[in-house]
């Protein structure tokens, strides 16, 4: 056992209101400078939708992350490291600026400076790449609130597998938001892709950073990262990425994106894991086994042996205590409601998500039953607007069961709490039906609903 500590995040998508405050505060703090105009360390995607950059999840095209070779050994999907070095000057797996978007500004000063003229002055869009007039055809968030679009559906890698489940009709509309930062993976393929050795994980907290002195701008990391969360600063010629706000984390402040999240849906905490087990877990043969495999890597911070080993590894007492009261541990391991994003990329991502509940479709409505009624609860889950298959493609390599289990827990919590809210006797059979005790369910409710600042971070 080699105990290491990892700073991690959980986002409760069920609470995300899609406001993008996280994106803006992050951008204002980190990337509102020349060369980074198109860069959003934190972005929010409306799902269904193509994402940012467009179709980044299509690893058959972009070849990000890891895969197992025929002998079950892990290798970069973009090809072995040797191939990687050989293609260093011509990287075909790099999204173009058009896949992100061509950043622009406007000639705002015209509004003030326009001479007397025939028409009202107007500020026209100007490309921040070429400086020329442009028609805006794509943005960092073009898909906003569309809930998918027939205009782009044919390019959507997520829909390819479950097309029959998703119909872009008014009556069947569904959407949810997916905020994304760097995953600060336990098994980062960006680092492994870097020919210069410029990308490293901080030993004490696992934050993945690019050494700005060492980076030579090969952009192999951009290709290597399946989440496309490493960006190329075209001014400095260096790679840049989300830093998990390490200057704030170091002084005990949550990341900017987390603290400014008005949906109060982000949790930050420490996870202890066994570094010796990472490779084995990431090499799990079945894609759908990766979620459980990653959970196996995490260590119980209250286990005396783990504490002993952690101390041996030089992890400070207060960090061990922090790991014990970590909301991340509670959400991933105690309540098991958080799931990893695209575990099949095998990078062992460390930003996890609670999948969103969604309104029930007319099917349940027409039965005349109240979906809040206990008896009808699980039927309601089966009739959610968001197809569970879609969520499973995101979080469990397509395996529906774990997603279904989480949604049932959330629904059961609402049902259980309603009795308490209305002053009735609470019904212990509800938590029992999802394998939880009443106390567990109540504690989970407090963490998800009351969610005080001190409990979130």
């Amino acid at each position: 056992m080699r105990v290491m500590a990892q700073m991690a995040m959980v986002m409760n998508l069920d609470k995300c209101i899609g406001c993008h405050t996280c994106s803006v505060t992050c951008k204002q703090a980190w990337t509102n400078r020349a060369g980074t105009e198109y860069i959003w360390f934190n972005n929010v995607e409306t799902r269904p939708g193509l994402g940012y950059p467009r179709t980044y999840e299509d690893q058959e095209r972009w070849k990000g992350g890891w895969e197992l070779d025929k002998r079950g050994r892990m290798k970069l999907k973009a090809g072995g490291r040797f191939k990687n070095l050989m293609t260093i000057f011509s990287n075909p797996k790099l999204p173009s600026i058009g896949e992100y978007y061509e950043p622009w500004t406007y000639d705002y000063s015209t509004l003030t400076d326009a001479p007397a003229q025939e028409h009202t002055p107007v500020a026209r869009p100007k490309s921040l790449i070429s400086g020329k007039d442009m028609k805006i055809e794509w943005s960092a968030n073009w898909d906003d609130d569309l809930g998918g679009s027939t205009e782009t559906a044919h390019r959507d890698p997520m829909l390819a597998k479950i097309a029959e489940k998703v119909k872009f009709e008014f009556e069947q509309t569904f959407m949810f938001y997916l905020p994304r930062i760097c995953e600060h993976c336990l098994n980062p393929s960006c680092a492994a892709s870097c020919p210069s050795g410029a990308i490293y994980k901080r030993e004490e907290d696992g934050i993945v950073l690019v050494d700005q002195d060492k980076c030579r701008g090969w952009r192999k990391c951009v290709s290597g990262c399946p989440y496309k969360k490493i960006y190329f600063n075209h001014r400095t010629g260096k790679a840049e990425k989300c830093t998990f706000c390490f200057p704030r984390i170091e002084v005990g402040l949550p990341t900017v994106c987390a603290e400014t999240c008005v949906g109060r849906l982000r949790y930050i905490g420490l996870m202890l894991y066994d570094a010796d087990k990472v490779l084995e877990a990431a090499s799990t043969e079945d894609d759908q086994g990766l979620y459980e495999a990653q959970r196996e890597v995490f260590l119980d911070p209250s286990d005396p042996e783990v504490i002993r080993e952690a101390e041996k590894a030089g992890i400070a007492r207060d960090w061990i205590l922090a790991a014990q009261r970590s909301p991340i541990y509670a959400l991933i391991n105690t309540y098991k409601v958080a799931l990893p994003l695209h575990p099949e990329y095998r990078t062992m991502p460390m930003v996890w998500y609670i999948p969103p509940l969604s309104p029930v479709v007319d099917v349940v409505q027409e039965t005349g039953e109240d979906a809040e009624d206990k008896g009808n609860l699980f039927a309601a889950i089966d009739a959610l607007r968001i197809p569970v298959e879609y969520l499973a493609e995101l979080f469990t390599a397509g395996e529906v069961e774990p997603v279904d289990a989480v949604l049932k827990k959330l629904a059961a919590m609402r049902c259980y709490m309603r009795d308490i809210n209305m002053g009735r006797e609470p019904d212990a059979s509800i938590p029992a039906a999802v394998g939880m005790s009443e106390e567990e369910m109540y504690d989970m409710y407090r963490l998800l609903a009351i969610a005080k600042y001190d409990e979130r971070y």
Binding site: G18, A29, Y106, E118, M175, I420, M422
Partner: protein, 1232 residues
């Protein structure tokens, strides 16, 4: 790993790096030696963090941390230090949204207004004229504006570039000279100011308002103008608006979001709804599109736009049937007997043909056996006591609110009386009453007969409001005659669930079930069912009827005045928590009273000449049961009538300068009041509103600050450009045909263009208003000044503070208006001196004026129906002295009237002697001068903050206690204990610079925060039996004013959206035209302008971050099904065309949009990426280029109980949702 060679290569890393390469060679970890990342550490470092907020009209009121490095504002993040909402509740942290987070972009952006600007052509003329007139700026201004040619030269150049830099000295001189000239020649009421929503930055609002009010100008309303005022609120509650804080959503067991897209429009508060679901709250969304909030709802009811009242009426039908008729629900019954007008008696009027209609409330004046000299008897309603079966005059009605005998009796305590809700039990007789209906798709009026139990009381045939309500809702009972619904599935009978299905598209069973669930939850939880209602339902022409249908649900089920229950209207921002202090400063009540506060909708309806494009008369809206009181009148006539009867304000008031009018009276040796009445009667004097196109009646000066009239709220934008400003426009409408033209209001053959002489704007960014302005002054931003901020969304007061000093030549609003005031005073001293001004004041709410018109009977003196008596049948006439040389001095000091007259809010007068003395010491005392010597200073913005906080009950516990004690005397119920816990607490400005400060429970508002509870309105009314400010003192289902009866809106009723095809000959909805004939080709759709995710009104829509996260310019959302009909694809350039104007935008095509409706999100302004329109050959318009003003006559009612005017409390709304437009695909080659 993947191969020996690459392993070897990678392994070599171990020797070259200071970090640790993992044994399996996958990753590199590193500890120490990370200097290369110092870039980010440097980037994060900053010198200081300053608390401030955003003075924007979103109601957010979020406290922010503003980061400063090297004297430069770098970015902002939200404060997280709000006082706790309790251990078992979520908190208010963080509050803020992406718009707010992007604000600092403006500070240094290229759209920042850095210097004063004047349009070149005007500046040149002014300089030349000044030199011609011996350097006198006032004469110079007259020289320009009194010459038609010169005036046209600069007016027609408005909005067409050519702004040049000027100094503050010169720009403020032009502004001051224009004011002096206008006041002298036309009168002070020809000067207007517009700045909305004081709560968002009270001092900044008060700055110009104080100046305008000191010179005698008109401040224009905003809450009604924005259509954010729910007129149903004064109608039902007798209150402007009072709603729960967002934290109270947490307490609800059932929550309907009705036309309110919380994640977008209430971003910082949405989490309360999201989190309350985890407590088992059921959440329902009623929205025509799959809006952002629908994601959270257990059920989505996609009611068709504008049909919400039909759905609510059907739900009400179910509630009445199942919870009142089929069985008795004790909680509901007790509640409605005590707190609503349902048991009160209504007379039934017999028409000539013998049919009956609902008439007036029975009052003590109608009773035979009554106290001989019963005071205010016509304002005391009557009910039947079930115990004695006799009529009883209960305490608490308006008649008890005033007069000697009402002392201690203005309360809702029924004593031993048990009000009879229905007269059915042992009914003497049953009669048929004609109930109005408008459910024909074109809104045409009809009625149907429904039976009610009735009895005779002292010769009057009466029934109860409850019996009428059941008749209206079509809920039959055994033994009653008339046409009734056969059942819920009776689609023919209003207002069944099946009936609404055809209208709304919501399945009948769903409507019934949601109504039932809402009530069942309220029964079980004793009132914890809530409806969050938003602009989606409030911005319609008939919104008052929509809202009354909603309020029927909350009020029947005992949800008002209960934490977690009732209405939660979040449209606009009405809650200036320290209202009393703010009102004194802004209205300059410390120096002169009364102010001229004008209803803005009527103002622009007349002065932008939109009244000249009406195609129908005011009686189009009348019910078949009406008496024809609006017959033959145009809307302009109704406005004029309302003004001359003293119901609504009207400024400019008379067709003569009010300063001259005072002089004329003095010369005639008569009191001004007598003189004016005499002149009006003789016809020598007229109301200006009766001839709005006469040159002496134009508004001449408009100053705008903290607002963007022409880019945001100005409905009928193109009419503004054409008639008010006199520049190019895209108006396509034809003028009113002769048969519909006004009869009382003069029609001039030639419509004036360019009425306004000066448009002045103070702003920190370029907007659609600044670019049309003659003078633009550079404002400090919200991170560059001191101010105060409150909201209805949370119970805290917090502050603005400068993170940096105002940069370039920008000034705070307070400073800018002081600059103007000083210039004005020096010119005014010589040109104007001291004058007398006669102010016409409408009958005012929360005063005995509410008893001017017994029974709400219309009496028009001009038609000889009564004598013109100021303060009764016409406006009060008050003479005010104006010392025009002392305006600046008065601005900077708290005047003496607060000492002598105190300050009155909602009928409670606060004595302020101690507070004034305190302020003398706290702010310092003014020394010297002609007017203000010895008065407390208001020189600095901080002084004004201090004065507001000191003079308000919510921020000064002494005053809260004092006010409650005053109210205790009138009501006879215990109240002062509500403020006891904070009796000695006084919030200072310094307090607000720390964490947000909770306010104190005060009689200024109807709810209580006592003991740290969440604020919910009317809890004081319910828990302490303090009456509402209505006729009965209860919440009203029934309104018996003549004009309400005329419109058939005595009770809640469904009225469909206006039919623009019938009224304005627009193509029918769904029409696809190929462009033949004189039609524009394209598809006709409903045109809605909901609030934007990427802006707050026009603010932020020009912000580069917001543009980068959206589509980067003006766009219109439409359904994929509509798009295909006219060959439009996503991101195509399209044009939206109707009679009001033309818009160019890009299409966003989405299946989340309902067929037949497009959204052009509100206020995308005119400045960003708007090409030339093919249809007009001019720059494409803004969202309001397609809208126009339509005034509902019932909003003009005044002088009767709760239907009495107060500023931003009652007035016609600037509604805009009933509009339609043609959408056409245009050439994809756009030109600019």
């Amino acid at each position: 790993m993947d191969g020996p060679l690459s392993d070897a290569l990678v392994r070599s890393r171990r020797f070259f790096t200071k970090g640790t390469v993992s044994d399996d060679l996958r990753s590199l970890t590193k500890k120490g030696g990370r200097e290369a990342d110092d870039f980010y550490r440097d980037r994060w470092s900053h010198d200081k963090v300053v608390r401030s907020t955003h003075g924007v009209n979103c109601t957010g009121s979020c406290s922010w941390k503003v980061y400063v490095k090297d004297g430069i504002i770098t970015w902002e993040t939200q404060q997280t230090d709000y006082p706790s909402a309790g251990p078992d509740s979520p908190e208010y942290e963080p509050r803020g949204c992406p718009r707010g987070a992007a604000f600092s972009w403006y500070t240094y952006s290229p759209t920042r207004v850095r210097y004063p600007y004047v349009r070149g052509v005007l500046l040149e003329m002014f300089r030349e004229a000044k030199s011609q007139h011996g350097g006198d700026p006032v004469l110079a201004w007259a020289h320009i504006v009194e010459s038609p040619q010169r005036a046209k030269a600069y007016k027609s150049a408005r909005g067409k570039g050519g702004l040049v830099r000027a100094s503050w000295e010169e720009a403020s001189e032009i502004v001051a000279a224009a004011h002096v000239h206008t006041i002298k020649k036309y009168g002070p009421d020809r000067v207007a100011g517009f700045s909305p929503i004081p709560a968002m930055s009270m001092v900044s609002h008060a700055s110009g308002a104080r100046f305008i009010n000191l010179v005698g100008g008109s401040m224009l309303s905003f809450y009604d103008w924005y259509a954010d005022l729910p007129v149903a609120s004064p109608q039902v509650f007798g209150d402007q608006t009072d709603v729960p804080e967002s934290g109270d959503w947490w307490n609800a067991g059932y929550l309907i979001m009705w036309g309110s897209n919380l994640p977008v429009t209430r971003t910082p508060d949405a989490h309360w709804m999201v989190e309350a679901r985890y407590r088992g709250q059921k959440v329902v969304a009623v929205a025509p599109d799959y809006a952002d909030n629908v994601k959270f709802a257990d059920e989505w009811l996609p009611a068709r736009p504008g049909t919400d009242a039909a759905l609510a009426m059907a739900m009400g039908h179910v509630v009445l049937k199942e919870f009142f008729v089929d069985r008795d629900t004790p909680y509901f019954t007790e509640y409605v007997k005590t707190y609503t007008d349902l048991p009160h008696l209504v007379r039934l009027d017999e028409a000539a043909d013998g049919t009956l209609t609902a008439g007036k409330f029975l009052t003590a004046a109608d009773l035979a056996v009554t106290d001989e000299d019963e005071e205010n008897a016509a304002f005391k309603t009557v009910l039947i006591d079930a115990v004695t079966d006799q009529p009883v005059v209960p305490n608490g009605s308006l008649g008890h609110r005033y007069g000697e005998t009402g002392v201690g009796r203005w309360n809702l305590d029924l004593g031993d009386v048990d009000p009879r809700l229905s007269l059915l039990e042992g009914a003497e007789e049953t009669v048929l009453v004609r109930m109005p209906r408008f459910d024909n798709p074109d809104g045409a009026a009809a009625d149907l007969p429904r039976g009610v139990p009735a009895r005779r009381v002292d010769g009057h045939l009466v029934t109860t409001v409850f019996d009428l309500l059941l008749a209206q809702y079509g809920v039959g009972r055994d033994g009653l005659p008339g046409e009734w619904a056969a059942g819920y599935d009776d689609a023919e009978a209003p207002y069944t669930p099946a009936w609404q299905e055809a209208i709304t598209g919501v399945p009948a069973s769903t409507a019934a079930r949601i109504g039932r669930e809402f009530a069942a939850n309220a029964e079980e939880s004793r009132g914890r069912s809530m409806i969050v209602m938003g602009a989606g339902t409030n911005h319609w022409f008939h919104s008052d009827t929509i809202y009354r249908a909603f309020l029927t649900l909350t009020n029947l089920t005992g949800c008002q005045g209960v934490n977690g229950g009732g209405w939660a209207h979040y449209v606009g921002q009405e809650k200036v928590r320290p209202i009393t202090g703010y009102t004194q400063i802004a209205n300059a009540l410390d120096w002169n009273r009364p102010p001229r506060n004008m209803i803005q909708t009527a103002y622009w309806y007349l002065h932008t000449n939109q009244f000249r494009y009406d195609q129908f008369g005011a009686d189009t809206l009348s019910a078949t049961t009406g008496a024809g009181q609006l017959a033959g009148k145009s809307t302009a006539d109704v406005i004029a009538q309302s003004a001359r009867m003293g119901w609504m304000p009207s400024y400019p008031t008379f067709d003569r300068n009010p300063l001259d009018l005072s002089d004329d009276a003095a010369n005639a040796g008569k009191p001004v009041s007598d003189y004016v009445v005499e002149q009006l009667k003789s016809g020598e004097l007229d109301f200006a509103g009766e001839d709005p196109d006469a040159a002496q009646n134009y508004p001449r000066i408009l100053s705008i600050w903290r607002a963007n009239l022409l880019g945001s709220s100005g409905k009928g934008n193109e009419y503004f450009l054409k008639h008010l400003l006199g520049t190019d426009s895209s108006v396509r409408a034809t003028e009113t045909p002769e048969e519909h033209r006004p009869v009382d209001v003069t029609w001039r053959d030639e419509a004036p263009e360019g009425k306004l002489d000066l448009l002045m704007t103070i702003d920190f960014r370029q907007t659609s208003t600044t670019i049309f302005s003659d003078v633009v002054l550079p404002a400090a931003t919200w991170y560059e000044k001191h101010d105060l901020n409150t909201t209805d969304m949370h119970p805290f007061v917090h502050s603005f503070n400068p993170a940096i000093a105002p940069p370039w030549q920008t000034r705070t609003d307070w400073d800018a208006w002081q600059t103007i005031a000083e210039k004005f005073s020096s010119l005014g001293a010589t040109h104007l001196g001291v004058r007398k001004d006669v102010v016409a004041v409408p009958l005012t709410h929360d005063t005995p004026d509410a008893m001017a018109n017994p029974h709400g009977v219309v009496r028009d003196w001009k038609k000889g129906e009564c004598e013109p008596i100021p303060g009764v049948t016409m406006p009060k006439l008050v003479e005010v002295e104006r010392d025009y040389g002392a305006v600046a001095e008065k601005m900077n000091a708290l005047g003496p009237l607060v000492d002598t007259l105190g300050a009155t809010t909602k009928g409670v007068t606060f004595e302020l002697g101690e507070q004034v003395e305190y302020l003398r010491h706290k702010n310092g005392t003014v020394r010297g001068g002609v007017a203000a010597d010895g008065r407390p200073s208001l020189k600095r913005d901080v002084d004004v903050c201090e004065a507001i906080l000191t003079m308000s009950g919510t921020t000064n516990g002494h005053l809260a206690t004092q006010g409650f004690k005053t109210l205790e005397k009138r009501t006879g119920v215990r109240l002062a204990d509500l403020a006891e816990e904070h009796a000695g607490k006084q919030i200072t400005f310094a307090d607000t610079q720390g964490p947000p400060v909770p306010v104190i429970t005060s009689p200024e508002w109807s709810g209580s925060e006592t003991g740290g509870r969440r604020y919910s309105p009317f809890t004081i009314n319910v828990e302490r039996k303090k009456p509402w400010h209505t006729l009965t003192g209860r919440m009203h289902f029934y309104l018996d004013h003549d004009w309400m009866t005329e419109l058939g809106e005595g009770l809640p009723v469904y009225r469909p959206p206006l039919n623009m095809a019938a009224l304005f000959a627009e193509p029918a909805l769904g029409n696809v035209s190929d462009g033949s004939g004189d039609q524009v080709e394209g598809l006709t759709v409903r045109y809605l302008t909901p609030h934007n995710k990427w802006s707050i009104h026009s603010e932020y829509q020009d912000n580069l971050f917001m543009l980068s996260l959206s589509r980067g310019g003006q766009n219109i959302w439409m359904s994929d099904r509509d798009a295909v009909k006219v060959g439009i694809r996503d991101n195509d350039w399209i044009e939206a065309v109707n009679r009001n104007g033309v818009v160019v935008a890009r299409a966003i095509v989405s299946h989340r949009m309902p067929e037949g409706t497009v959204y052009m999100y509100h206020a995308q302004d005119r400045l960003i990426d708007v090409p030339i329109a093919e249809t007009s050959g001019k720059r494409g318009g803004i969202h309001n280029s397609l809208t126009r003003l339509l005034v509902k006559p019932s909003h003009l009612i005044g002088g009767y109980a709760q239907l009495t005017y107060a500023f931003n409390y009652l007035g016609p709304t600037g509604n805009q949702r009933d509009e339609v437009t043609i959408i056409r695909k245009r050439s994809q080659d756009v030109e600019y």
